[in-house]
């Protein structure tokens, strides 16, 4: 084992995920560059990766969120943008972790709809979600479909 000297110590990296009808990741990137001032911005297919000092990153995120508040989402990321240990440019295939975002992007329209609805409606008037009584099991027909879908 060799010694490890970390780069970008003291910075934070956040993903901005854009799932909007009104703005594209490129629009958001242009706005982010306008207010960047010291943060690193990397545009990707679903939004942006922003790295810098926490207060600077928060400032840029607050600014880009204003473009479409209910349709722009943010999450933390451990690695800096383009890190060779994670970037698909060096690894090939989708970045580990992308599949999680891809799965949740199918749910984001419901979340965006809810956020807009709750702007005009009190959350206390919404009934609590029903708890599922049984754990869902993989049924044999779905399993067969998964097996048939496998490439040789």
């Amino acid at each position: 084992m060799t010694d490890y000297s970390p780069a970008n110590v003291g910075t934070v990296t956040r993903y901005v995920v854009v799932e909007s009808f009104k703005v594209t990741p490129t629009d958001v990137a242009i706005r982010a560059y306008e207010v960047a001032k010291g943060v690193m911005i990397k545009e990707n297919c679903f939004g942006l990766g922003i790295m810098g000092k926490e207060e600077d990153v928060n400032r840029v995120i607050a600014e880009v969120r204003k473009m479409d508040p209910a349709y722009i989402f943010v999450k933390d990321r451990g690695f800096p943008p383009g890190d060779a240990r994670r970037c698909r440019a060096t690894l090939g295939g989708a970045r580990p972790g992308f599949h999680g975002i891809e799965f949740e992007m199918t749910i984001l329209p419901y979340i965006s709809h809810a956020l807009e609805e709750l702007d005009t409606r009190d959350a206390a008037t919404v009934p609590a979600p029903e708890a599922s009584q049984t754990a869902p099991r993989l049924d044999v027909y779905t399993l067969k479909k998964l097996i048939d879908a496998q490439e040789p």
Partner: protein
């Protein structure tokens, strides 16, 4: 501002909701960032070194596989640090190898054992469920704001 542990720990939706409603989410990225930014021995890709399974002994017994103990060294400190937790049950997103699956079980067990406010949900499947999902999280996080 409370520290909220989120499960699945990589969830974009939970991380965003917690931040949006004024609290701090604790998830995988925080623990990984800490390792990636700390000098030590080169151990790509996640900088998990042989020391981590030893640290994991605090939450899992020695006969538990090192994969679970290594993962617990990431999540264990955050479970101890958090003020509240939000769990999404039956999340397809949390699917993984046996190490991940057992860690997830242990993680949920530890969260349920800890005396703190908890919210358990499932991913919404339509707009009506989406509204209930977001409203439940908003109520939970807003109520926390006054208590903590």
């Amino acid at each position: 501002m409370a520290k909220i542990f989120i499960y699945p720990a990589t969830s974009l939706i939970l991380s965003d909701m917690v931040t949006r409603f004024g609290h701090t989410p604790l998830g995988s990225a925080i623990a990984i960032r800490e390792r990636v930014q700390t000098a030590g021995l080169e151990s790509a890709p996640l900088q998990i070194t042989p020391e981590d399974p030893k640290k994991g002994l605090r939450w899992a017994a020695v006969e538990v596989p090192s994969g679970v103990r290594g993962r617990m060294s990431l999540y264990g400190p955050m479970v101890e640090e958090c003020d509240a937790a939000i769990i999404i049950n039956n999340a397809d997103l949390a699917f993984g190898c046996m190490g991940c699956a057992r860690t997830n079980e242990l993680l949920k067990f530890l969260i349920r054992q800890k005396k703190m406010p908890k919210l358990e949900l499932e991913y919404p499947k339509n707009e009506a469920e989406g509204t209930q999902f977001v409203a439940a999280i908003k109520r939970f996080l807003t109520d926390l704001g006054g208590k903590l």
